[in-house]
Subunit: 79 residues, 2 copies
């Protein structure tokens, strides 16, 4: 089963990477770009066939390893 995990900074946490990208895009002439946020998207294969069980596992992975839950949120998806 294919899993996707999106890890992103919580709203309100300053995204320095996003700010840098936004500044660079403005400098290149794309002034209409705003609120740039840069997150991580992890994609991987998982054993097992039960989507609900897999989602539970993915959440446990995020809490334990993949996300820093003090400043980051996550979304999980299986397909």
């Amino acid at each position: 089963m294919k899993a996707k995990v999106h890890v992103y900074l919580k709203p309100g946490v300053l995204d320095v990477q996003g700010k840098a990208v936004e500044g660079a895009l403005h400098g290149l002439g794309w002034g209409g770009v705003s609120n740039v946020r840069v997150g991580k998207l992890l994609e991987f294969d998982m054993d097992g066939a039960d989507a609900e069980a897999a989602k539970g596992e993915l959440k446990a992975m995020c809490e334990k390893l993949l996300a820093n839950t003090v400043i980051e949120s996550y979304k999980v998806e299986v397909a």
Copy 2:
């Protein structure tokens, strides 16, 4: 308009970050995880109302700044 840009390493390019995550997950007992790939997901607001034009702009941004097209591919999405 909301834009999403997914930048990821091309298949065949060694993903060292993905390998590290995979090793860590195995160490924590999730042995069924494989082929971990770590990409970037950029989300931002864009001026303009024409989705097709916006997609063109996003592709230009990726080619110029957001992706290293030697080793990375990208997908763009507007909503």
